[in-house]
Each structure stands twice: as C-alpha cells, then as structure tokens.
Amino acid sequence: MNAKIKLENHDAQEIKYTTCYMCACRCGIKVTLEDNKVRFIQGNRNHPTNQGVLCAKGSAGIMKQYSTAKLTQPLMRKPGTERGEGIYEPISWEQALDVLTERLEEIRATDPSKLGFFTGRDQMQALTGLWAQQFGTPNWSAHGGFCSVNMAAAGLYSIGFSFWEFGAPDWDYAKYFLMWGVAEDHSSNPIKIGLEKLKRRGGKFVTVNPVRTGYSAIADEWLPIKPGMDGLLAMSMVHVLLKHEKFDYEFLVRYTNASWLVVQAPGQKGDGLFLRDENDHPLIWDIEKEAFRNGIDGDIAPALFGEYVAPDGRRVKTVMSMMVERYLDERYAPENVALECGLPAEAIERIALEMAHVAFKETVELPIEWTDVWGRKHDKVVGRPVAMYAMRGIAAHSNGFHSCRAIHMIQMLLGALDAPGNFRARAPYPKPIPPHQLPENNIDIINAPNTPLSRPPLGFPTRPEDLVIDEFGNPLRIDKAYSWEVPIASHGLMHMVITNATNHDPYALDTLILFMANMAWNSSMNTANIQDMLRAKDMENFGEYKIPFLVVIDAFHSEMTNFADLILPDTTYLERHDSISLLDRPISEPDAAADAIRYPLVKPDRDVRPWQEVMVELAGRLKFPAFTKPDGTPRFGGYQDFIVNYERSPGIGFLAGWRGKDGTKSLKGEPNPNQWEKYIENQSFFAHHWPDNQK
C-alpha cells in the first residue's frame, strides 16, 4: 500500500523523557534521538502538566539545541579592550574558576554585600537562593520582580496562594471563567487544554484584555479594558456584588478575616490595624455571646458587619463594614467607571451578576468527606464554579498589586476559592497568609565576613521591623527591595540592579554575577542605556568600571555577553541535570503534588559546564557551611550528589519522589542514592495524587 513512502528507521533511534525548558510551564517531553542528535520533541502523554500536547515553543526546542548562538568555551575579556567590544581570550575552566574563586573569597571575607547574584527566568531558585544565603549576600533574586511579583505578592498576602504557578482554574468543574490580562502564556499548554474542556462542557469564557488575540480570540465575551484599568473594573464588580447583596456570607465568616475588627482612630497609633487581645489574637464581635472573642477560633459566631467600642474605648469596625463603605461608594458604580475602563456599564454589571448566578445557583457539591482546620468533619465539598486567572497584564502594571487584590476580593465575596470549579491551590500552596518567611535584615549578620545569612534573602515582611534597612532607613539591598521605597518586594527587583550598582546607590558592588539573565534587555527594556551603564567608569577609582567585575553565565550569546569580564558557558536544557523542586517553583496540579527532573539526553559538543554543577563546585571551594564537611573538604561530589543528599530539614530534600533508602517513600524520607535513576525510569517526573479528602 505504501511502497513509495519511506518510514523512519527506529532501530537507529532512542526515546527519552525529560522536562521542557522553553518557558516556565515545564511540560513533560518525549524526545526522539538519533546519532546523539535530537530528531523530534513531542509532549509526554503521561505528564500531569501537558498531558501529551506541546506548544510551539516546546517543539521549537530543537532549534535552540542547534542554535549557532551557543557559547562554546569560557572566555575572559582581553586585557586592554573595552566592555562591549566583544574581544575575548579563551581560558580553561580551571583558570576561570580560580579567578572567580579568588575574587569571591576576598569579597566574602570582607564585605559580602559587594557580591550581587541575579538570575533570569531560571527554575533553580532553591539552589541559587541557598547559594547566596550561604555566601552571605542579601543581593540575590531571580527575574520575578520584573514579571509576576505584583500578582504573586497580591495572592500570597491575600489568599495564601496566587495566580500562575501556585494555583490553577478547576477546568473539570468550572462553569464560568474570567481571565484577566493573559495573552497566550503563563501557563501555556494547561490553559489551552483547559479552555477547550470548559467550552466543550458549555461553560462561559470571558476575557478582560485590551486586545483580542491569543486565548481571548475564543472567548464568549470580550471586555476590551483600557490598559491598567483592570483593578478599577474589579472594584466596580465588587460594588455590583455588594449592591445586589450577592456575596457568600458563610464563606466570609468561616474562611476569611472579613469579621475581624479594625481600629478606627485617625491620627493615632494603631489606626487601621486589627484590634488584638493581649496574646496578639485578632478580635471579632461574637453576636451570640455578645463579647469580643478570638477571631482565629472555630467556635465563634462573628458579626460580619458593625461598629463597636473596644474595651480600651477605641472605635472599631469589621473589615466587611469598611469594605462595604468603600466599595458601595458611587465612585465604583459601573456607570461611573465605564469611561475610564472603556467598557459599557451594562457589561460590567451583567458580568458581575452572571458570576453571582453561577456561584450561587449552579453550585457544585461533591460527596467528599473532609476535616476543616478546626477539626470538624464535613460530609460534602461545596464549590462555587466561577474560576479566574490573571497574569502579566495585571502583574506588569505598576498598579498590579492592588488590581490583583481586587480580583481576589471578587473571589472571596463569591466564596469561589480553592474548591471544585473555581481557582484551586497547587502544592506546596496554600501557605499561611503571607508565608512565614522573612528576609534577612540583621545588619550584623549581613556584614559579617564568611558568614551565611540566618534567613533567606527574600521573604514576606508584615511590619516595619521586617524591612531590610539600616538604622537610618537606608536600603541594605542593592535593588532596594524591602526598603521604604518597595516594602513588599517579594521577588526582589533585578531590573534595578545595574542602574543602582552603576549609580552606587545605595552602595557599590564589586562583582555582579548574572545567570541566564540578559539584563541589558531585562533591565527596564532599555538596552542601549543599560549597555552605557555597563561601560560607565568611575573616575574616582582609577578609571575602573562602576560595576568592577561582571560575570555572565549563559548557554547563548546575547546583548549582555559582550559586556562581561568573564563568560562561563552553560549547557542547554537537553544536556544537563536539573530538578524542578517542590522547594522552588513546582509543577504540581491541584490534584497532585508533582516535581520533575532533567537529565542529559545529548552530549555537549563544546567546552561547557552546567552552571548548577559550577555552583556546587564554587560552594565547596568557598567552604560554604552547608556544602562543606567538618574536615573542610567539599560535602558534595557534584550537583546530582547534592540533589540526592541535601536535606533542608530531615527527610525533606529537593526531590520528593522515591525517597527513603529503598525508594519507597513519597514527599518525606531519607535520601535515596538511586533517586535519579527512579526519576529517569518514571519519565522524569513524580506525582503524588492527593486522596479526595486532602484535595
């Protein structure tokens, strides 16, 4: 029948499974190899993230692998040439690491903050963060401050998880889906899979986006918002829900702090803070007991509305009352925001009421027994099937934090959070609101030579005392994160690093390490100016560059590499080991905790090394405590050894699958020396499916 059609010679081929790295979704891929070359990349059908499909970028991974822009060997800027000229001399890895070690040893022994270590859209922040913490510099972050931070911070400070990686719409039960500022990204394949599911089931898809491209093209209704006005639209929807009394009273009482009391004492200390008892517990007014009671407790009947006089005589009001006062104001009425939002008032009101209809009249109930946080058993799970999702259009605007909080407010009013049909958390989220992790701000520890930070460089401040500033209020971080200027900078501000370091504001760096971060582009999208800054010299310091030593680690040549003093060439994602860890940015789905690995599928044809391998090596050379044995020799034989044997706390390591000596334990267990092999056997990912009552 097909005499003329020649088929592939599969005998010459090999199939391997790994994890995509063409964007941050981290889909499972099935790779066909032929003669140490990639023949075909397709989606892995068994993978929880992409379930067999693959986007255009994923398939284009083959073009990345064979890109002519790959860096091939370590390079040192030729003495006597200037930054940007791109004249380099090849050096050996040994020489390169010696130069770098000597420089870093000196910084670490004198003033550790003089090292800046900033990374791009990497997926190894658990390791890079640990490395920076062990070095003792607060000057570390990845690219989130330039990307999702508004949205991530809004979520983590409001609902304990967030859009993008920490939660996902429940595509199996959602009947209404409102998408804010998402074009065709974050996440790519899961949203495409989900939109088709939703539409097949007859659910309604509404998109809020200035342009109708990407996902918005297939929306049932398009709200062509004026850029930056999403928050106002969300607040107007809050107005509509309140005006028509469409809110989930029980949800607000049980699962939010809407009943907590807020001190009303304008101009006085404590104004706007929660009323708390002597044990620091927030208080509510119990309408049954007619008394102030602990708002954390389970056996309370709190007033959702009302104004009271606290035992100390101060006026207090419930959060809900304050919200109602603010958002019922005519300022937020649809007809009064229509012009600013560029939307018909009718549409704003109708969409809000449609969501209310679906939330309250088309409720999903699943017969799943579960136990709540107060230990009480329930015989069913109630889901308000209105799902939402937001990403860059919200996150990348200067008002994104509050816009995103307004979106979460709609979810809370509808009771449409972390339940069937709405927006569900992905392990290890939800976490406490905000997560219990504070950034290092002890100036003595930060300044101490050869001393790790006692806490990670990034975290979630809740009080002025948590800010990373000195006694005069000056920022301690080069990017000024957690200063009065940017107090809730959950991901750091890598886009400010080159500007601040060039201006020596708040201080000068000695060495700046950039890993897969084309900061000439990533810094304020101002390539030419950033390149000028990297060329800028300090006439007061013998004509040295204002950023004296710049190290660029990348697999590819970019607008940045020609400005480096030292270039360390990295491997591609198909040439190295990686772990996509639950300690970091995991690939969990709402129904399963999941993580994944990469391992080398093809041998590099160049003198390149995986940066993670180099980081572990440098950590040993610099004798970081977590990377050093008591006798002073390196504790880990390399990256793979580190991933298997490093434990953040006993039993908790980078990879959650096949733990325990014999590989039989999940999530927690002793290191398993054969863990990498188990992952490779299992198509490079691990998924722990939650029993129904833990979902």
Partner: protein, 231 residues
C-alpha cells in the same frame, strides 16, 4: 478511506503549535525536507505545510478574532493534480492523500496557482513544490504506538482543536463530530470537494442574572444585617 483533518474554530487559539510541530517533524523526515532559509539569520523564513491565518471580523461588541489554520484540504477533485505537467502531483486512491513525487516535480508552480487554498509552496532549496502529506510517514508506521500514528499537528495541538481520521467511515470520530457540530468545507462553490472540515464557533452560553437592589446608594449599608452564622 478518505483521510483528512477536522479543525475546530471554536477553540483554536492561533498559537502556531501545529505549524511548528509540523515543521519539526517534516524538516528532517523521510519525505521532507521542509526547508528553512537562514533559520538563525536576521530574516528567517522557509517552507510551511500549514500556515495559520488570523482574521478580525465585525465591530465591537460582535467582533471576533478568528484563527484559521490552513493546510492541504486533500480535495477529491484536486486541480493541483490535474494541472501537473509532469505527473508528480498525485492523489492516492487508497486513502485520498494528495502527494508530490519529489523525483518528478520540476517546481513549475502550476499546482500552487491551481490551489485556491494556498496549500502548496515552492521550496527554493530543492526547486520542488511542497505540501502537507498528512504525515503519511507517521500514520502508517507500525513501529509507532497506535495513539501516535497521527499527523504531528494533531498530536501536539494544545487546545485539541485538530482531529484526524477517515471521513469515509460514518462512525469515525471525525465524521461524527462534523455531523454534530455542522462542520463545513471551504469554498464548496469551486467544486474541488475538499476533504478537511472546519467546525464553526459554538453559540455563546446565556446566563441569567438576578439583580436585587434598585438603589445602591452608600446608605444601603444600613440594610446589611448580621446573620447568626457560626464558624
């Protein structure tokens, strides 16, 4: 057999995954290559079997962006075959796939002028015409897992907007879907009798609303009464 594709315009987000997967499979496949011109140069371009057209229709609020993937329709009455002066273009009787014998093709472009769907392109590297083969080197490959014996564009489509199957079989998934969703062929008036079918956008769901308040003034806060709800 009459093999072909169904493309669901209700869910195609225009992401080009199909076009890239096609490129990837066929660039170094046994019946390729699907040539690239200067893939790493300043102006990369090349030959495609499948291109996604994007159209904007109507005015707000009825406007719509339509993503329209187009590849060879594997017509029953394919003029591209009839006009071919060398006999390189042929339609396989056993499954209806239209192919080009690369050894016979002289790259004269007649077929591309005859095709109203823009499905044929001249490969400047090989000097021959190229077109979608429905991944004929995948769909009959017994060494591939059964579920992967599909065109690469269908395998990869993240929105599951593409289906592959036999339109001669009334019980095939493609035949059933076309019946249920009123699938249509493009430009039937030209009488080429294309095999591929497109599914139109579904009708929009209608959701009732239940407004309550007629007022909505700030004073309505006074209407909010506490309910006895125990946590």
């Amino acid at each position: 057999m009459r093999l072909g594709l169904v493309i669901d315009l209700d869910v195609c987000v225009g992401c080009h995954a199909c076009a890239i997967a096609c490129k990837e499979w066929n660039a170094s496949g046994t019946i390729g290559p699907l040539s690239d011109y200067q893939p790493y140069g300043a102006e990369p371009s090349g030959v495609w079997f499948n291109r996604i057209r994007h159209y904007e229709m109507d005015e707000y609020p009825n406007n719509k962006t339509v993503n329209f993937p187009m590849s060879c329709m594997h017509c029953e009455d394919a003029d591209c075959v009839t006009v071919c002066p060398t006999g390189a273009s042929y339609k396989r009787p056993e499954d209806g796939i239209v192919l080009i014998d690369q050894d016979k093709c002289m790259g004269c472009n007649y077929c591309s002028w005859a095709c109203p769907y823009g499905a044929r392109e001249l490969d400047r590297s090989s000097g021959t015409m190229k077109k979608c083969t429905l991944c004929v080197d995948r769909i009959y490959d017994q060494d591939l897992p059964v579920e992967e014996r599909q065109p690469s564009c269908v395998l990869t489509c993240p929105a599951h907007a593409r289906m592959f199957g036999d339109f001669d079989d009334p019980d095939s998934a493609v035949s059933r879907t076309v019946r249920e969703r009123s699938g249509f062929g493009l430009m039937p008036e030209l009488n080429y009798n294309p095999t591929n079918r497109y599914l139109p956008p579904r009708s929009k769901p209608v959701i009732p609303v239940e407004p309550k308040s007629k007022g909505g003034l700030k004073e309505s806060i006074k209407q909010f009464a506490n309910k006895l709800v125990r946590r």
